[in-house]
């Protein structure tokens, strides 16, 4: 019994020592969860005086003091980040998700609470903004009921006070003439998770290169008449090819099991898929170029990939993030790739809607490739001179 315990302790001690053998990697093992938790907390934290505000467009077909007062209340609501738009532009705003929800006060709204037919308030929403629609409906109802209670209490009480004196008619709006019915949560999930996994695959590919160095295979390759550029391009080609296969298999499964479909431009989808796979390959080379040891590179990459996935909207609706984060997300390739994929999958939009995403992702790919190539070439030159 004692002997077995001693054996287990010896084995555990060995793993303990192995963990600490690369001290920087060990330090990263503690730093990464701390940084991740802190960063995510920073992104999601709302101070008590600064609650999350739902972006909302407000339009009014009606006019009058009551309507203007309600509009003013909506614009001033601490729960809403409302802006006033002309009624004719409300649909276009929602189609562009700028913002994803709009409330249109109808003619007859000024006469609230009117007897007989209740006026129908249109609540336009982007198909991906189901949660925001519910939030907007609740906030809107609260604002109107408060205003009614303040200005027209006797009339309001004479009416059926248990029921709001208006109806809310929710209407999904899809961009580019696509069918709103094409959206399902699986589509968003398959877009986001596929992109995230491509980045993880890129990381693995980069780590493979670090392993090749450690095993000495890199020395054999360097001794062969092969230019460094060819080695890197070969690596990138394999990584991108496998990534493309992963995209194909993932979306084929999504289509067969959950109805995930490309309802817009198939060419746009293909261009985005190829661009995202190129990004995965470039990410891999960048990992190999700046990675250091495998354990260190893995820790840093996991941190970076989770960060750009979350901020890029691969996990959850972007409105949950502060405005500054939404702005900063435009500097990430994941944001553009996700927007493009959403446009050509369930939004049903054409090639033109995918092109900004394609261009942005290729731009980032070229940047990553250039950085990786420069760094690897410099490292190779130093190694040849015996400086490393």
């Amino acid at each position: 019994m004692y002997r077995r315990l001693a054996l287990i302790l010896a084995l555990a001690g060995k793993d303990w020592r192995l963990f600490w053998a690369d001290r920087r990697a060990a330090a990263l093992g503690f730093a990464v969860p701390v940084v991740l938790a802190s960063a995510f907390g920073l992104l999601l934290h709302r101070p008590p005086g600064d609650p999350a505000r739902l972006p909302l467009a407000v339009a009014a077909d009606a006019d009058g003091p009551f309507t203007r007062a309600v509009v003013a209340d909506l614009l001033a609501s601490p729960r809403l980040d409302a802006k006033l738009v002309p009624a004719a532009e409300a649909t276009a705003c929602v189609a562009d998700r700028d913002p994803g929800v709009a409330v249109v006060l109808p003619k007859g709204f000024e006469r609230l609470p009117a007897g007989g037919d209740r006026p129908s308030v249109a609540l336009l929403h982007h198909p991906s903004c189901g949660a925001e629609r519910q939030w907007a409906e609740g906030a809107f109802t609260e604002v109107v009921m408060k205003r009614l209670a303040r200005e027209r209490l006797p009339t309001f009480l004479a009416a059926d006070a248990l029921t709001p004196p208006f109806e809310v008619a929710a209407a999904p709006v899809a961009a580019g003439g696509g069918s709103p019915a094409a959206f399902n949560a699986y589509t968003h999930s398959f877009n986001g998770m596929t992109l995230q996994y491509l980045l993880f695959w890129g990381m693995e590919s980069g780590l493979m290169l670090l392993r090749e160095r450690r095993r000495g295979v890199w020395t054999r390759v360097r001794a062969a008449p092969v230019p460094l550029g060819a080695v890197l391009l070969g690596k990138a080609l394999a990584t991108a090819g496998i990534a493309l296969l992963q995209v194909g298999v993932t979306f084929a499964f999504g289509w067969a099991a959950f109805g995930v479909a490309v309802t817009g431009s198939a060419v746009g989808f293909a261009l985005l898929a190829v661009a995202a796979c190129g990004l995965a390959a470039a990410t891999g080379l960048l990992v190999a170029a700046i990675g250091g040891t495998e354990a260190r590179a893995r820790s840093v990459c996991v941190l970076a990939i989770l960060g750009v996935s979350m901020v890029g909207g691969l996990w959850m609706p972007a409105f949950l993030l502060p405005a500054w984060v939404r702005g900063a997300a435009l500097a990430l390739p994941t944001t553009w790739a996700m927007r493009g994929l959403e446009a050509v999958t369930w939004e049903g939009r054409g090639l033109r809607a995918a092109l900004p995403g394609v261009a942005a992702v290729w731009g980032f790919t070229a940047l990553f490739l250039a950085l990786a190539a420069a760094r690897l070439a410099s490292a190779e030159a130093r190694r040849r001179r015996g400086e490393t």
Binding site: R215, G216, V217, T219, R220, V221, R222, A223, A224, P225, V226, R383, R384, R385, G386, E387
Partner: protein, 324 residues
């Protein structure tokens, strides 16, 4: 008989930061000969091989294989070198044949010709029947042979092997050297590094001894490791029991000043000016009642070669027993 020079290093200097890793190394390896690089850790053996393989650029000096200088024609140089790195440097996940096909393609080989070469080199290293086995599942000796096969694929005149027997058992070691002997007879020039003096003595046609980045001795091992006529004969032994101090003193008195007798625990060392004097001393020790469990003369030791080289350098004479 060795043929023309395949590898030539002339006054090669390499610096790792402030330290000189190679300090004016000159070396020639001819076709049809096996040259061993011998030296303690950090003496520059692997660095010499890296320079010869073209993966490390010297700060000064020239490196050429079959007259092709790396600086002038890097690709042509690479095609003339077959490198067997110290680690097996293979993809464990791939089969032996897949590894060889990949490394062959790096040298511009392909198609039927490459497949034919893969079959041939696998047969050469006696692994034809393991072609489709994953390298990760092969023994250390087999991996070493696959590694050698990878270096032979493009039929280079020069083979470089970095500590090829470091992880091999004696049987595998003998097999590898038998193979290298055949390659030597086929006209390959072979340069290998080793820690093992006996290996260098037995298997190499010439040996270059490196110390602190310099070739301090070179020549046929028989000449290089032959005991000096003026050298002392030494015997090491292991006592069955610890010798009482009085007995140790008595033995020392009877041996006289010509024979050294040192006892450390149960280890004894006897040294004399001649083998005869040593034999006499040993007989006297045994007659005094000491029982030796084991005893023998020491193998030729690397430090002795290095010491002799240092002595020669101090006297101003190069310690060379053949061509450089």
């Amino acid at each position: 008989m060795p043929g023309p020079v395949a590898l030539r290093l002339e006054e090669v200097r390499v610096r790792f930061g402030a330290a000189a890793a190679l300090d004016g190394v000159s070396l020639a390896v001819r076709r049809g000969e096996v040259v061993g690089l011998l030296g303690p850790n950090g003496s520059g053996k692997s660095t010499t091989l890296a320079v010869a393989a073209g993966v490390l650029d010297p700060a000064s000096g020239t490196v050429s294989v079959d007259g092709v200088c790396r600086r002038a024609d890097a690709d042509g140089f690479a095609r003339k070198v077959g490198l067997v790195p110290q680690d097996h440097a293979l993809y464990d996940e791939l089969t032996a044949a897949s590894n060889l096909l990949f490394f062959g393609r790096l040298y511009g080989l392909g198609g039927r010709d490459l497949r034919r070469r893969v079959g041939r080199v696998l047969a050469c290293v006696k692994l034809a029947d393991r072609a489709n086995d994953r390298v990760g599942g092969l023994s250390g000796g087999m991996k070493q042979r696959v590694s050698l096969a990878a270096a032979l694929l493009h039929e280079p005149p020069l083979l470089l092997l970095d500590e090829p027997t470091a992880a091999l058992d004696p049987g595998c070691r003998d097999g590898l050297f038998a193979l290298l002997g055949r390659l030597r007879d086929d006209g390959h020039a072979i340069l290998l590094s080793t820690h093992h003096l006996d290996e260098a003595e037995r298997e190499c046609d010439r040996v270059a001894v490196l110390d602190r980045g310099r070739v301090v001795a070179s020549g046929p091992p028989g000449d290089l490791f032959r005991p000096r006529a003026a050298g002392r004969s030494v015997l090491y032994g292991h006592l069955r029991d610890v010798l009482p101090k009085f007995l140790e003193r008595a033995i020392r008195q009877r041996l006289g000043p010509g024979v050294e007798f040192e006892v450390t625990g149960r280890r004894v060392r006897l040294a004399a000016d001649s083998p005869e004097a040593l034999g006499g001393g040993l007989a006297l020790v045994l007659a005094a009642g000491a029982t030796l469990e084991t005893f023998g003369t020491p193998p030729a030791a690397l430090d002795r070669v290095l010491r002799r080289a240092a002595d020669a350098a101090a006297e101003g004479a190069p310690c060379t027993a053949g061509s450089p």
